[in-house]
């Protein structure tokens, strides 16, 4: 939806070029930039629900954590270990798996995380789509909080002490590179964020996008017009969850050690960042969440290094200024400022004539 097509194409190329060059240009920041791609994925998937459909989910982080755990469990099983024994050893087991086992486990794990999260979202949607407005927000927040506690009590997956993931073996994907593992996961993160973008970009151009917006603007009207609202809502959440599941699986492997409260279900950090980033960039737009994610993440990382201790104050300030003075977000503001560039215009009778034809 941003400006003209050529401008969007240029923007895409610029982002892609940055993504491909950045890890070689700034090898020390690979992990931070990988995390940026995950943040973009977060903002895009949150915006599908909160921005495009008007369902402000505060529990989308649940699928990140669920994906992380599903992926880890599959990796352990494919590695030939018993999950209960593996987790009971608290990382003391000398993990001994072949390279093939590692990569097979990882990719089956990521696929299982995606599919498993879709499945979970369908079940949750069945119960939670009856809730509207703040009730949906708080209800979904409850899911994420409860999941953290439940996993913490579940011994089979390591409970509160978490799981140490199988380590990345040596491989020759990036010969001669110092940080092969970093590059490997960096490009997976980038690929999943790009795939998320391309998928939603396509989706919003189909009837699906119109239906989501109709639900956002007036769900009762949409029902009254015969739109299959439940179907659209379920599929929308399933699509979000699919990509969130993958991001969870990847993040778990990047940090090597997962546990329920801080890493898998970080409700008050990542869970809130998702919302904040979409709002900052402009919810309900395609590029807004991306812009919001980049700004937010850069500010977060910079304040982390240079303003240690003030980081939370800085992030809090951004959120407050955004919500109080700037609710439409950056892209939303641009659309208000330059409506013609976004196709909002009145036609004079002269241009309107001769079209249509019924009257």
């Amino acid at each position: 939806m941003i400006a003209t097509n050529t401008n969007e194409r240029l923007l895409q190329i610029a982002v892609l070029a940055f993504g491909l060059i950045a890890p070689f240009l700034f090898p020390a920041y690979i992990q931070q930039i990988a995390l940026l791609w995950i943040m973009i994925l977060f903002a895009l998937t949150w915006d599908t629900m909160g921005g495009q459909m008007g369902y402000n989910s505060l529990g989308n982080i649940f699928f990140f954590g669920a994906g992380m755990y599903i992926c880890a469990v599959v990796q352990i099983i494919v590695g030939g270990y018993d999950v209960g024994e593996y987790t009971a050893a608290f990382g003391a087991i000398k993990v001994d798996i072949t390279d093939t086992q590692y990569f097979t486990g990882l990719f089956i794990g990521l696929a299982a995380a995606a599919v498993g999260c879709v499945f979970l979202s369908i079940i949750l949607g069945f119960f939670f789509f009856g809730l509207r407005g703040p009730y949906f927000a708080i209800g979904t927040l409850g899911i994420a909080l409860a999941a953290g506690e439940l996993i913490g009590a579940w011994r089979w997956v390591g409970g509160g002490s978490g799981i140490s993931l199988p380590l990345y073996p040596g491989s020759d994907i990036f010969p001669g590179s110092a940080d092969e593992e970093g590059l490997f996961f960096y490009f997976l993160c980038m690929a999943s964020a790009v795939a998320t973008f391309l998928f939603f970009r396509w989706l919003y151009k189909t009837r699906f996008g119109l239906a989501l917006n109709a639900i956002r603007d007036d769900e009762e009207k949409a029902e009254g017009m015969g739109i299959h609202t439940m179907r659209y809502k379920t599929v929308a959440w399933a699509c979000s969850s699919f990509f969130l599941g993958i991001s969870g699986g990847l993040h778990g492997n990047i940090v090597h050690f997962i546990e329920p409260l801080e890493v898998a279900f970080p409700t008050i950090t990542f869970g809130i960042f998702m919302v904040a980033m979409s709002l900052l960039g402009g919810k309900g737009t395609l590029w807004g969440p991306i812009l919001g994610a980049v700004l937010f993440h850069v500010i977060k990382e910079v304040t982390w290094t240079h303003l240690l201790g003030w980081q939370w104050v800085a992030l809090g300030l951004i959120i407050i200024v955004n919500v109080v003075y700037f609710q439409q977000g950056i892209v939303g503001w641009l659309m208000e400022r330059f409506p013609e560039r976004f196709g909002i215009r009145v036609e004079t009778d002269a241009t309107a004539q001769g079209k249509g034809g019924a009257d």
Partner: protein, 247 residues
């Protein structure tokens, strides 16, 4: 010619307020039926009951010889029975064309149709219907930026886009500039004659009803007071009394 809607003994109460009591009403296929009555007499409540917006307390509602009183809003809408709202409801942040494109008939939609693109035929139809209600020039504006009257016209066009068999219109001329009302009456009639849509119309404007309706029902205090040809109902002493205040 048969009845496309048959309402029999329908009652609906909100807490202690009896909004509809034992209503009998027929909508003849292919015709325009009018529904009049003082404010608060239960007209909108009856619409809500027919389209499944709320469960009824008793009675039966048949559409095309099928009992619909236990069905849900979307199912009924997909059968081809649609309503517009007295307060006018459109999708405010979407532009007029988008409002129209998402109003295509959903009855034939299968799962994969969700991911389809709007067809050229859809777009043409959207444009020509917007032209039909005089909103073509405004079609790229967010619907929420239109005036109340324009939103009413848009909602009417959206309903036509849906190709309903029967359309229930809740005060279609309320808030429309008096000089435009004749044009609107003409369009409503054309929806009936050219598009073959059966209409059930709530109206306070007697001129509109007398001009359009084949049959008129008058509600007062939640009950049907009189029904029949427009002139007969208009001259019925009970109807005159009801309108002149005795309530």
């Amino acid at each position: 010619m048969g009845n496309v809607i048959e309402v029999r003994g329908v009652s609906k109460a909100y807490g202690g307020v009896i909004a509809n009591k034992d209503i009998d009403l027929n909508v003849a296929d292919g015709k325009i039926t009018g529904l009049i009555g003082p404010n608060g007499s239960g007209k909108t409540t009856l619409f809500n009951s027919i389209v499944g917006f709320h469960p009824i307390d008793g009675g039966s509602i048949r559409f095309d010889d099928q009992e619909i009183s236990t069905m849900r809003v979307q199912q009924i809408a997909r059968l081809g029975l649609l309503r517009t709202f007295q307060q006018t409801r459109i999708y405010g942040k979407m532009n007029c064309v988008q409002n129209m494109l998402i109003s295509i008939p959903h009855r034939k939609h299968r799962f994969l149709d969700m991911f389809g693109h709007s067809t050229a035929a859809d777009r043409e139809k959207a444009d020509s219907l917007l032209e039909f209600v005089g909103l073509y020039g405004k079609r790229m504006l967010p619907a929420g930026d239109l005036s109340f009257g324009q939103q009413k016209l848009l909602e009417f066009a959206m309903a036509l886009m849906n190709e309903p068999k029967v359309l229930l219109l809740d005060e279609p001329t309320a808030g429309i500039n008096p000089t435009l009302i004749n044009g609107l009456i003409d369009r409503l009639k054309r929806a009936n004659t050219d598009f073959g849509i059966t209409l059930l119309v709530i109206e306070h404007n007697m001129r509109v009803i007398m001009n359009m309706a084949d049959t008129v029902y008058c509600l007062a205090h939640g009950e049907i007071l009189a029904s029949g040809a427009p002139e007969a109902v208009q001259n019925d002493q009970r109807v005159i009394d009801a309108y002149l205040g005795a309530h």
